[in-house]
């Protein structure tokens, strides 16, 4: 019964979404209020039906309804309770439901917020969002139906992919999809602005906070993905330049560019065409990522099973790109910017460079990801470029971006005077150089790491100095320290939220540089009772034992670790054996630390437990990635607080910046 019910709900939602999208568009053209209300009711209907689908599938998972193919393939009687819920998005069909559900929630929020306040743009926004929902519902109906019936009904299911039985899998897809779908709102407003012909700053001002939210969730999704990769996949890294990671990273890069370039349009009325291009690109890249990873044209550790989903996404991607850029071409005459670049030493040009480099980074990631396809098509040779390519090309780009991160927010609009430059940057440059010198004396030999640390110190100094200056100014008006600090952060929350996000990125950058340069890895075979000394730790192998879990068995090694100060910890890396998997899966064990993590992976072992091979990794500074993520969260939260009402003053040359 469940499969039929779910399928019926999907088809009904599809019909409603198509109707609603058409009705909303017609109401935009003809200004018909009855049609608009009808479209809104259709959107509510879509939301209810998709929610129903999702709950139905969760119910099927909880009750082990193996007549649903998706349930039988992604769970088994032994799957623990909470993973039976998260198994919902454990494979392609379910993640499409999650995506559609989030889209329908966002559509409702858009209805509630903008129905009255944006009478002109709103019907078209609704039309675009319902149109996108219709596409995802079509995917749920034809190429990837989550409610396919399985007969005969098996006694037990196949079980969830063991790698997904992890807390990271609960949050990672949710955050990532919140980010992906979040960008549909600015995209829908951009399209509406083009259709209506209101190509000014309106759509940007309206969607500013949406963009930050989408960007934040995408960042969070990437970071949680890194954490999952680090503590589940057992190879000791957090980022492998895998096609799926790249697929999520590309919209993050263009989204970051968009987040910055809209500020230029708000202040200087420049870059109208560029901003529209960026949001179209960002949104298209979220679809492209899904196409890339679901079509099977490029293999990946994360790839789900294939099918015709890829073709659907490719066709829809083509439709979106063609449609959006046609609209852009149609309105080209209205998209001439009003401002002009005055000087290379200005905030505008710093932001432009930031955009150029972010888009360049996105392009290199794109190029490296599709390079095997290009090469095979053009030259007929099978080649690939791996992590070395991405690292080599992106390190200079990201170092430049860090530098610009220090310059951009403080340099004056239009044309920076020598006084402006000296006041804002002299001390930070000195601090940056001094920091690099101190690190060199402390024994940091790697030139790239030194450069990175120096740049990080430079940018951190610009931020701290700017904030201190502003606090002092407020103190002069009689506020206490605490009042001055908080008042400032809240009064100019957008600016200081951005600064805190920048600080988070700096912490991340230190983590990336340190972990790449200083991590070590050793493999060693130990007999029971034997010890080995590795990177300042002494590891003693205390034997193997077996454990039986609800849905798998595991062989656990016990390693007593001590350091110079005595006993440190006991680590128990294991190998898990799932009946449905032929390959055992490594369960790593680690001890996280502020400066270094000790990370053990169990390798080959003798069946009698007499000896075992262990991979010992000392991963330095990796914790800084997660700390950077926390700082970033704080900053993003600060930036999306409602801004106190005030009109921004027109930008004047040489004025200290306040955007």
């Amino acid at each position: 019964m469940t499969p039929e019910l779910g399928f019926a709900a999907t088809v009904a939602a599809l019909v409603l979404a198509v109707y609603g999208s058409g009705a909303a568009a017609l109401s935009g053209m003809r200004r018909r209020d009855d049609l608009r209300r009808s479209a809104e009711r259709a959107a509510v209907g879509v939301f209810l039906l998709v929610t129903g689908c999702m709950l139905l599938l969760v119910w099927a998972f909880l009750t082990f309804d193996f007549s649903v193919r998706y349930v039988a393939f992604n769970t088994s009687l032994g799957t623990p309770f909470y993973y039976r819920i998260t198994a919902l998005w454990g494979a392609l069909e379910g993640s499409i439901i999650l995506w559609t559900f989030m889209l329908s929630v966002y559509t409702l929020i858009v209805i509630a917020r903008y129905r009255r306040t944006q009478p002109q743009l709103y019907p078209w926004v609704l039309a675009v969002m319902l149109g996108l929902s219709a596409f995802f519902l079509l995917v749920m109906t034809v190429p990837a139906p989550p409610f396919q019936r399985l007969s005969p009904v098996p006694a037990d299911g196949r079980g969830l992919n063991p790698l997904l039985e992890d807390s990271g899998m609960i949050t990672h897809p949710v955050a990532l999809y919140l980010g992906f779908t979040g960008f549909t709102v600015p995209f829908a407003f951009a399209m509406a602005a083009l259709i209506v012909g209101r190509t000014g700053e309106e759509w940007i001002t309206i969607t500013r906070r949406w963009t930050i939210v989408a960007w934040y969730f995408l960042s969070l999704g990437l970071l949680i993905g890194g954490w999952w990769s680090y503590h589940v996949l057992g190879w000791g890294g957090y980022w492998a330049w895998d096609p799926v990671e790249n697929a999520a990273f590309m919209p993050w890069l263009t989204g970051t560019a968009f987040l910055h370039s809209v500020m230029i349009q708000e202040r200087r009325r420049m870059l109208k065409l560029w901003n529209l291009t960026l949001i179209i690109l960002t949104f298209s890249l979220t679809l492209f990522g899904t196409f890339l990873t679901r079509s099977g044209i490029i293999g990946s550790v994360h790839a789900f099973s294939q099918g015709s989903v890829g073709q659907f996404f490719l066709a829809f991607l083509a439709l979106v790109v063609l449609g959006a850029f046609s609209l852009l071409a149609w309105r080209l005459d209205r998209l001439k910017g009003q401002g002009e670049l005055d000087s290379i030493l200005s905030r505008e040009s710093a932001f432009l460079l930031n955009n150029l480099f972010l888009v360049a980074a996105a392009f290199t990631v794109f190029f490296g990801t599709v390079f095997p396809l290009l090469s095979e098509a053009v030259k007929g040779t099978k080649v690939s470029v791996g992590a070395p390519f991405f690292n080599l090309v992106n390190i200079p780009i990201f170092l430049t971006l860090i530098f610009l991160m220090g310059v951009g927010p403080l340099i004056a609009w239009r044309r920076a005077s020598a006084e402006n430059l000296r006041r804002n940057f002299l001390k930070p440059v000195v601090i940056g150089v001094a920091a690099a010198a101190v690190c060199r004396l402390l024994g940091v030999g790697n030139a790239l790491v030194l450069l990175c640390l120096g740049l990080v110190a430079f940018v951190a100094a610009t931020i701290v100095m700017d904030f201190a200056r502003a606090v002092r100014a407020r103190r002069r008006t009689g506020d206490g320290w605490l009042d001055a600090t908080w008042g400032l952060a809240l009064r100019q929350n957008r600016r200081y939220g951005g600064f805190v996000v920048h600080l988070g990125i700096l912490v991340l950058a230190v983590g990336v540089a340190g972990s790449q340069a200083w991590s070590t890895q050793t493999e060693v075979t130990l007999a029971r009772g034997e010890s080995a000394q590795i990177a300042g730790y002494t590891l003693r192998f205390d034997g193997l034992h077996g454990e039986e879990e609800s849905n798998h068995a595991k062989v656990v090694g016990t390693f007593a670790v001590s350091d110079a100060r005595g006993p440190y910890t006991v680590l128990t890396p294991a190998k898990k054996f799932y009946p449905q998997e032929q390959t055992p899966i490594a369960a790593v064990d680690y001890r996280l630390g502020f400066l270094e993590d000790l990370y053990l992976v169990l390798g080959e072992f003798a069946r009698d437990g007499s000896h075992a091979t262990i991979k010992v990794q000392v991963n330095r500074m990796v914790s800084w990635l997660w700390m950077g993520g926390l700082v970033l969260t704080l900053g993003a939260a600060l930036a999306i607080l409602p801004e106190p009402r005030r009109k921004p003053a027109p930008a004047r040359a040489g004025q200290p910046a306040t955007a």
């Binding site: 290379i344 080649v383 080599l392 032929q582």
Partner: protein, 147 residues
């Protein structure tokens, strides 16, 4: 107008630098997918390859103490000796398909930096070592390169 031109030239310089960066990146890190026959025909020392084949029965040696791993990969026509330092991955065994990444050593063997062994069902290797079946194997293994 001159100012606009200056910006344009500056932009072009940056774009050219990025293009060079990509070019250099590709030429330094490109990895060629080859079969034992292809590699045997024209091995170039120091070049990066991804080599796929079957582990020839009777050639697999692993010393747990020194972590020295040696075996021979074959596609039914040519065979290539491979050396690696580390633990053999799960499912790595004689008569199974494996893909190794590394470089050709001057001393006449393939020095592997990573070894990938694959599932016997989905990634079943051809028993007769025929080219067509072997291509299938390569195709399924290609891109599975992450540890």
């Amino acid at each position: 107008m001159t100012r606009k031109r200056r910006f344009l030239i500056g932009g072009l310089v940056i774009v050219a630098a990025l293009a060079y960066l990509i070019y250099a990146g590709v030429s330094q890190s490109v990895v060629y997918f080859v079969t034992p026959s292809e590699l045997g025909a024209a091995p170039v020392a120091g070049k990066s390859y991804r080599l796929g084949g079957m582990v020839v029965p009777g050639t697999l040696r692993w010393d747990a103490k020194s972590l020295d791993l040696r075996f021979t990969l074959s596609d039914g026509q040519a065979s290539v000796p491979v050396r690696h330092r580390g633990t053999p991955p799960d499912l790595f065994a004689e008569n199974r398909g494996a893909v190794v990444e590394g470089t050709w050593s001057r001393d006449g063997y393939f020095q592997a930096s990573t070894i990938l062994a694959k599932h016997s069902e989905e990634y079943k290797a051809p028993h007769d070592g025929s080219q067509a079946g072997y291509r299938e194997l390569l195709k399924t293994l290609r891109g599975e390169g992450k540890p």
